[in-house]
Symmetry: C2
Amino acid sequence: MPASDKAGKAAGPSKRADAVRNQQKLLAAAAEVFVVSGVDAPIREIAAKAGVGMGTIYRHFPTRADLVVAVFRHQVEACAEAGPRLLAETDSPFEALWQWIDLFVDFLVTKHGLANAPQPDSSGFVALHTYFLDRLLPVAEQLLDAAIEAGEVRSGVQAYELMRGVGNLCIGSDGDPRYDPRRLVALLLRGLQELGAS
Amino acid sequence: MPASDKAGKAAGPSKRADAVRNQQKLLAAAAEVFVVSGVDAPIREIAAKAGVGMGTIYRHFPTRADLVVAVFRHQVEACAEAGPRLLAETDSPFEALWQWIDLFVDFLVTKHGLANAPQPDSSGFVALHTYFLDRLLPVAEQLLDAAIEAGEVRSGVQAYELMRGVGNLCIGSDGDPRYDPRRLVALLLRGLQELGAS
DNA sequence: TCGTAAGCGGAGCAACGTTCCGCTTGTTTT
DNA sequence: AAAACAAGCGGAACGTTGCTCCGCTTACGA
């Protein structure tokens, strides 16, 4: 292909076309495999599905978390952007916080659902959580602070703690009708709520 | 009587003395190794520490969970027995439930502390939780039902769900001063509490 | 067209879980 | 006491995994 038409690519040091292509293939294959085998699927399986060698996968995504993060980046971004919007649209900051956490739970449940196929396990999981937390933490802080300021929520709990708590509650959430993380998250939020007198 | 004079052992089909000895050595070694390397320590390491072969460890404890359960059985038992006692000693069933869950959290934090050394999480973990849950569930049900009956707790949450929730909240609880599972558990319980009017 | 190096593939290594079977060693029987 | 039995033992061996490493391929600028 005679090509120097870099098209819309960013002003990077011109990556090779096949490298970009492989990265795409990898992401697509990973997303597919994750659904079937969970995020702990063997690296080989993903590489095979993408039709590339194992060296390639490790070059593009040095750790498993890197790959998973890349696959889920869109959803995380959407959730992060929903925060300020909900705060603006809703009268009660606590209500906004509640709705936003619902979104967050939706995302977590989906993600965990993918991971829990065979074993409800979770090896590279927490590292993963940690990353998403870093991205979403500022949003959570904004919402929580607003709710505290409005006197709707008792202080004493940090946004970080709340996020990790919600994240943990969503672990192992599928395949067991007796365990509905949403109910527990609701309890948590109710406990967080400041009721009239202090 | 076929060797029933063997100490206080139950009426088993007379196990061989060396087998019993090995089981003890295994338990001791496992407890020791768990502290250093977490519950995911290589089987080989435990076998080596105990001075036995790998076949032995698999014969006594077919799955990793079996081994871990054996190691922690005492603590679980103590926790289970504390339930009815607290209920009898305390006036408010909700207060008894709260105290008992504190005990449960103590246990979980300890256990997780052992497991979180290298990777904050790991594989055979949930199965483990499940076992402990099975043992402690009846106790939790007793406490929760009493609290509901006394009108101190809103119904709608099952004991199973509560236990799993608390268990999940305790994951990854050490090494991070920003995350204190007790605070979140407190929130959860507050949310569970029925406040005056229904 | 041609040279260069970025990129690729997968063989190879180490570590792990798990199985299997011949030998050891308590225990029972005579 | 000695012999016979089988419960129990050890660890070699196998399959699977994560990860590295290096010779070959090929895209791309000149």
